[in-house]
């Protein structure tokens, strides 16, 4: 992770690529495709940050399983993030709170982002892709 202290004392994450994940597991392929993009970028040596926002916070929930037809879901990919050196895992505070979830419900330790830190996050990455 690459962090810099900024004037207000907030820590801002810098990087090449910020992937914002806004979709739930299983319901569509968006989350899977976003994670794949992050993995590929990391494999190419880029500094990748993930922001789980909206229904995307569900991607981190513990206790996920395969779907009824054996669809794999994405929790297996979440487990691989560290292996690809993707260590900047950020979660939108509002997305968690409004769903009644807390960081204790999640598979991995994450940093919580809120308020003005959100636009700064986008600003500090060369490329931002929404999924």
């Amino acid at each position: 992770m690459n962090e810099t202290e900024i004037a207000t004392g907030e820590r801002v994450t810098e990087g090449d690529l910020l992937v914002i994940l806004r979709h739930s597991p299983h319901g569509s392929s968006w989350l899977r495709e976003g994670l794949d993009t992050a993995l590929v970028a990391a494999a190419f040596g880029q500094r990748v940050s993930l922001l789980f926002s909206g229904d995307g916070v569900l991607a981190l929930l513990d206790g996920q399983q395969a779907g009824a037809l054996g669809q794999k879901g994405t929790h297996g990919v979440i487990d691989m993030l560290a292996m690809y050196d993707i260590e900047t895992l950020l979660v939108d505070a509002h997305a968690l709170i409004s769903r009644g979830l807390s960081t204790e419900d999640l598979l991995l330790p994450v940093s919580v982002v809120e308020g003005a830190a959100l636009p700064k996050l986008l600003d500090q990455h060369r490329l931002v892709l929404n999924f």
């Binding site: 299983h26 929930l61 779907g67 009824a68 409004s98 769903r99 009644g100």
Partner: protein
């Protein structure tokens, strides 16, 4: 009695609102796919007034890790229960 199917999360507010506005006093609502995100206790207030008429699909809750996190007001049914709900309803209307 109509069975309404809702496959969108509460984040897609327009769909949830439209489904609820179209429901009669005896109609039932089954949450499937991303619709089961509505079964989280934090979303329970959306579905007040549906006591006994709110259902959520077990397989879709389980896949998302929501089976143990489900609000009490939602009756959990498996796919066989889904078929039963369609048998018991005069017709089924899907909202997406």
């Amino acid at each position: 009695m109509i069975l309404h199917l809702l496959n969108r999360s509460p984040a897609t507010a327009g769909t949830v609102d439209d489904a609820l506005a179209a429901m009669g006093p005896d109609d039932r609502l089954l949450l499937i796919e991303d619709g089961v995100l509505g079964a989280l206790p934090a979303q329970a207030s959306l579905f007040t007034g549906l006591a006994g008429r709110l259902f959520a699909l077990r397989e879709d809750l389980a896949a998302r890790g929501l089976l143990e996190r489900c609000a009490e007001q939602a009756n959990i049914v498996d796919v066989e229960g889904f078929v039963t709900l369609t048998e018991e309803a005069d017709k089924t209307v899907s909202w997406f």
